[in-house]
Amino acid sequence: MPVVILDTEALSVLASPKERGASARRAQAILQAAAIRNAPVRTSAAVLVEACRGRARDTAVTRILNQGVDVLPVDRGTARVAARILNEANLDSCSAIDAIVVATAIRLGGALIVTSDPDDLSRLAMNHPDVEIQPL
């Protein structure tokens, strides 16, 4: 069963949907599809580093996390996979969180990653056909 993984922007869009117009509609449709297919929706603990900055955003994101978006920890194996694909993609550690998101998907045996930054994520996932990037 595929898993849906939300990146920082996807979480932010869902946290304040009214301000995010078309992206929010797309994110809504993806969650609806996930519910229809019984696909779990997850994010990575690393994503929260970016998504929870500022009290208002933190509160809004926490609400989403309590509504069926489970947070996956960054363990040793995930960190090492992230480091490897960062190297392979020739990206520096500014993309560390993106790399952890893709590594989380790889460790799950594949996932649909919802993002507003498809270019970097596609580059990181280039050798992993089981990871699909879904732009918002």
Binding site: K18, Q28, A29, Q32, N38, G68, G110, L112, D130, Q134
Partner: protein, 87 residues
Amino acid sequence: MGMTKLSVTVEEDLVDELRERAGDRGISAFVNQAVRHELQLARLGELLADLENELGPPDEAMVVEALASLDRLQKQQSRTKHQAARR
């Protein structure tokens, strides 16, 4: 994690397959995972209801597109599994 013992009854036609699939993991672990999954989906339903309040109902064409992505991914995943099994 703390555990609580619950007594549940399971419909008969599920029992054989449940025992078989749970295997060495045990029935409790299997049921825990199933319950966790169901609860998560129920919570996701609340999130979808909130989004519908704010944005209106989901766009059907976009949902169809997202379903196609999930189905494509599932196909790709089972292809990978088969390839791994053959190796």
